[in-house]
């Protein structure tokens, strides 16, 4: 079979570091080929070489039967390769059509022929069954719609090979389903799709073949029929995944009691939210991001003022207390955005680990932080969570750690506080499977010790795997509550979209 694209023995070295080691990859017409692998496995490097953003150290790219060299993305686009980046590159003030035709506008005597452009976009949208309002302004489009604009843009530019980089990371479950359908449609009409992702479930739904990368090498190229999620995970991680520990049943007194919590700014961001987290319980909060979860976490941890309502932690009223006071009362917090809230990137691992410990009696004596004693503790974390800190160890800059390792450091720091209550917001976002296992295991262990955890995650699989009870947030309110035994992905999805679930304990407390 003749392939549309072949990459043969692609190798890319950065100094002594080999990012891609003889990676071979092929793509047929009408095929969906997924590339999966953990962070740092070399997926990005491979795609950057395909898109002309990096030059391979050795290896060939063959398009049809011709060897090609791309000096930049323009060359790749000319040859029919289009890339949809994880972060969209759109002009919010422009319309959908303008964003799609930009750079290749239909023109007459130097004037932009708007009508023709709109017509072209409509045709394209019908041809590939990608619904979009061609004249809407992009800033008013949802994330899913913006992604469609990006896909239409590469189609308009004449791409036969479409690279989708982590396309589902930012989408709601419903949008994910639509996207997977779009991918199938594209393949049916003869386009080839390269899907870069770490979500194996989606891969199994849509890919024809799957190439797994680990440590810059291909560990397997398999067709969907002959593999399953577990096999893929094994190829990615290089070992068997462990089962989570058993959940121990515990007698459960209330730990965090939230009553009618309301946060208003220009509009009501959090509306009369009430719930309880008990000792020995993980309460999961599901919801499309932007439905009040951030505001809830910030109000709980003292980073935002609550307009109404009360928060009691371990029986003590902590409503609108300072962050330091709430933390002293017994809260630790894995923040939702590790770069914005959780680290100082230009400081060392040690300095980042010290946050919250600098005035603890164990590490503070006669006006001085006891650095050596604290370093011992951090070394313990590094060992327990297998944090890869790089050559400078604790003095390495936090910004140089990979996302997963940095997240493990933050998790270790917050668990190390040994507080009865923990907020875990998106604890495994952008983290590879290995790190995810560590973090999930640590959370379950904390629960089994009798501590309470509020888990906020946009990954339903994570919510389902860890939570004892699930609350779904929609438009600043709690739209429904499901016990672990009755929760399914479908029920949660419906609640997340503002629907109601028959038979669920709808706000019954």
């Amino acid at each position: 079979m003749a392939y549309r694209l072949e990459m043969r023995d692609m190798t890319k070295k950065y100094g002594n570091f080999i990012a891609n080691d003889k990676v071979s990859f092929s793509l047929a017409a009408g095929e969906v080929h997924a590339i999966v692998g953990e962070n740092g496995a070399g997926k990005t490097t491979l795609m950057r070489m395909l898109y002309g953003m990096e030059q391979p150290t050795s290896g060939d790219i063959v398009l049809g039967d011709k060897k090609v060299t791309f000096r930049g993305p323009e060359d790749a686009i000319q040859s029919g390769i289009g890339m949809v980046h994880q972060h969209f590159m759109l002009f919010g003030e422009f319309t959908v059509t303008e964003n799609i035709v930009i750079g290749y506008e239909p023109k007459q005597a130097g004037f932009f022929k708007r009508k023709e452009a709109v017509e072209k976009v409509r045709l394209l949208s019908e041809q590939y069954r990608i619904p979009i309002d061609a004249q809407a302004q992009v800033s008013s489009c949802s994330i899913g719609e913006q992604q469609r604009v990006e896909i239409l843009k590469v189609l308009y530019q004449g791409a036969d090979i479409i690279v989708l980089d982590e396309p589902t990371a930012v989408l709601t479950p419903l949008e994910v389903r639509e996207l997977l359908q779009t991918i199938r449609n594209l393949a049916q009409s003869g386009k080839s799709v390269i899907l870069i992702t770490h979500k194996l479930q989606e891969v199994m739904e849509v890919a024809d073949r799957i190439t797994v990368l680990r440590g810059g090498k291909v560990t397997g190229t398999v067709s969907r029929e002959e593999t399953n999620v577990d096999d893929l995970a094994r190829l990615m991680v290089g070992r068997e995944l462990q089962e989570l520990s058993e959940r121990v049943a515990l007698e459960r007194g209330p730990l965090l009691q939230v009553e009618n919590l309301t946060v208003r700014e220009k509009q009501t961001l959090l509306d009369q939210v009430s719930f309880t987290v008990h000792h020995g319980e993980i309460v999961g909060i599901a919801g499309v991001s932007g439905n009040g979860q951030s505001e809830l976490l910030q109000a709980l941890s003292g980073l935002r003022t609550a307009g109404e309502g009360s928060i009691r932690l371990g029986g003590k009223d902590v409503t609108n207390q300072s962050v330091a006071t709430i933390r002293r009362t017994g809260l630790a917090h894995i923040p939702e955005d590790r770069y914005m809230w959780g680290t100082a990137k230009l400081e060392s691992v040690e300095e980042n680990a010290l946050m919250g410990y600098q005035r603890k009696p164990e590490y503070y004596r006669r006006g001085i932080v006891k650095r050596e004693a604290f370093r011992q503790v951090v070394r313990g974390w590094v060992e327990r969570f297998a944090i890869k800190t790089g050559s400078r160890q604790l003095q390495e800059l936090a910004g140089n750690l990979s996302g997963g390792n940095l997240q493990k450091l933050i998790v270790a720091r917050e668990l190390g506080q040994e507080t009865p209550f923990l907020i875990a917001a998106e604890p495994t976002r952008g983290v590879d499977i290995g790190a995810m296992e560590y973090i999930h295991q640590a959370l379950i262990e904390k629960r089994n010790q009798g501590d309470g955890i509020l888990l906020v995650s946009s990954e339903l699989s994570e919510i389902l795997a860890l939570s004892d009870r699930i609350l779904v947030m929609y438009k600043g309110k709690i739209a429904g509550e499901l016990a672990r035994s009755e929760a399914t992905e479908e029920k949660i999805s419906v609640l997340m979209a503002g629907g109601s679930v028959h038979g669920s304990s709808q706000r019954a407390r």
């Binding site: 962070n39 997926k43 990005t44 795609m47 950057r48 980046h85 994880q86 972060h87 980089d165 982590e166 990371a169 870069i196 770490h198 941890s301 980073l303 300072s322 962050v323 330091a324 933390r327 917090h333 923040p335 770069y339 914005m340 809230w341 959780g342 680290t343 100082a344 990137k345 230009l346 400081e347 300095e351 010290l354 946050m355 919250g356 600098q358 005035r359 503070y364 006006g367 001085i368 932080v369 650095r371 003095q395 910004g399 990979s402 996302g403 952008g430």
Partner: protein, 356 residues
């Protein structure tokens, strides 16, 4: 060892800026038609050429160093205190008045004057701090404007109520201080005084505070990522106000030791004309807010100024040569600022590729 390495690293870039500054100065000298080597020799002699000149350089470095140390603390916390001039002048006039009018023995009067100078300078810096905390008035603007209030108010005080009317009285100045409250000179007949020792001690204390205390840690983290600091339970307002007070206090001390160790009276304009405050700002930027580095950069910048005086005495190159070199320094330091900012932005953008 790590400290030495950090210091060395923070000095590479400023040294480069100094070299480029000197090269630009060379162009100016050539344009005037003087010998480049000869002029720089004169400059060296003027700054370090004899023990007398060397100690004059140290004396000039003293207030610059104290101001720079104060600013470095504020900068590390991510707070822009541009009000050092006002804090220095107000501290100095208050210290002078205490030294003149407090009915107490000399030694106590001296200590009281120094403490007053620091407290008033610190207090003057606290007001914009409160304004920022309470009303979100940007420190950058308020501290800058507070300079005018302080300098003009001090000027009024020595022109009207506290003017020395005993002497020829042409100048706006207070009466001469009693000898018992003078800061001692370090060497007989030389201008460097005990204030220099105070400045060195201040640098060491600041170095220690930043490196080893929780407060130093909090200041640093606040400067690096205010949201992270807040999330970790650091009280931004408390740290900011403490930083402003210390910063203003050191500026007040700078003005105080200049009065008690060099002028022995408050003379209107004597602290503002030599541009101590802005040279101090430059010394901080040049040393990348490293307290030990500031000792070096303050002496260096003072040397340019005393050296340029030597140049003017002995050649046809004007005093402004020092200004040219300093201007180039500023240019290169700000270039570094924008470069760092650009680099930070770039790494932030680069994260988008981290997930695959």
């Amino acid at each position: 060892m790590a400290a030495v390495k950090e210091l060395g690293k923070s000095l590479v870039q400023p040294l480069l800026a100094v070299v480029i500054g000197l090269l630009t100065g060379a162009l100016v000298i050539a344009a005037v038609g003087e010998s480049i080597v000869g002029t720089y020799q004169e400059m060296w002699k003027g700054a370090f050429g004899s023990f007398y000149f060397f100690t004059s350089t140290l004396a000039r470095a003293t207030p610059i160093m104290l101001i720079a140390l104060g600013l470095s603390l504020a900068f590390r916390a991510g707070v822009f205190n541009l009000g050092a001039e006002g804090q220095m002048v107000l501290g100095a006039i208050s210290a002078t008045l205490v030294a003149v009018y407090l009915p107490a023995p000399g030694m106590i009067k001296l200590v009281a004057a120094i403490l007053t100078g620091m407290a008033v300078g610190g207090f003057w810096a606290l007001i914009p701090g409160f304004m920022e905390a309470r009303f979100r008035i940007p420190l950058l603007i308020s501290t800058l404007l507070f300079n005018y209030i302080a300098v003009l108010f001090a000027s009024y005080l020595v022109t009207e109520p506290f003017r020395d009317r005993t002497g020829s009285a042409a100048l706006s100045q207070t009466v001469m201080l009693d000898k018992s409250v003078w800061l001692p000179k370090l060497f007989a007949g030389m201008s460097v005084h005990a204030g220099f020792i105070l400045a060195i001690i201040a640098a060491l204390v600041l170095f220690w505070v930043i490196r080893y205390t929780p407060f130093g840690y909090e200041v640093k983290m606040l400067g690096q990522n205010p949201l992270f600091a807040q999330y970790g339970g650091i009280n931004r307002i408390k740290v900011m106000l403490t930083g402003m007070f210390a910063s203003g206090g050191l500026a007040g001390l700078a003005g105080t030791v200049e009065v008690l160790g060099a002028h022995y009276r408050f003379v209107d304009g004597a602290l503002t004309v030599p541009n101590f405050a802005w040279t101090g700002l430059m010394a901080t930027l040049l040393a990348n807010s490293n307290p030990i580095g500031i000792i070096i950069t303050s002496i260096l910048l003072a040397a340019f100024q005393t050296g340029a005086m030597g140049v003017e005495r002995n050649t046809d190159v004007p005093l402004e040569l020092a200004s040219v070199i300093q201007a180039v320094l500023i240019l290169f330091i700000s270039a570094k600022f924008s470069y760092d900012w650009w680099k930070k932005r770039k790494t932030k953008g680069g994260e988008s590729h981290g997930a695959a």
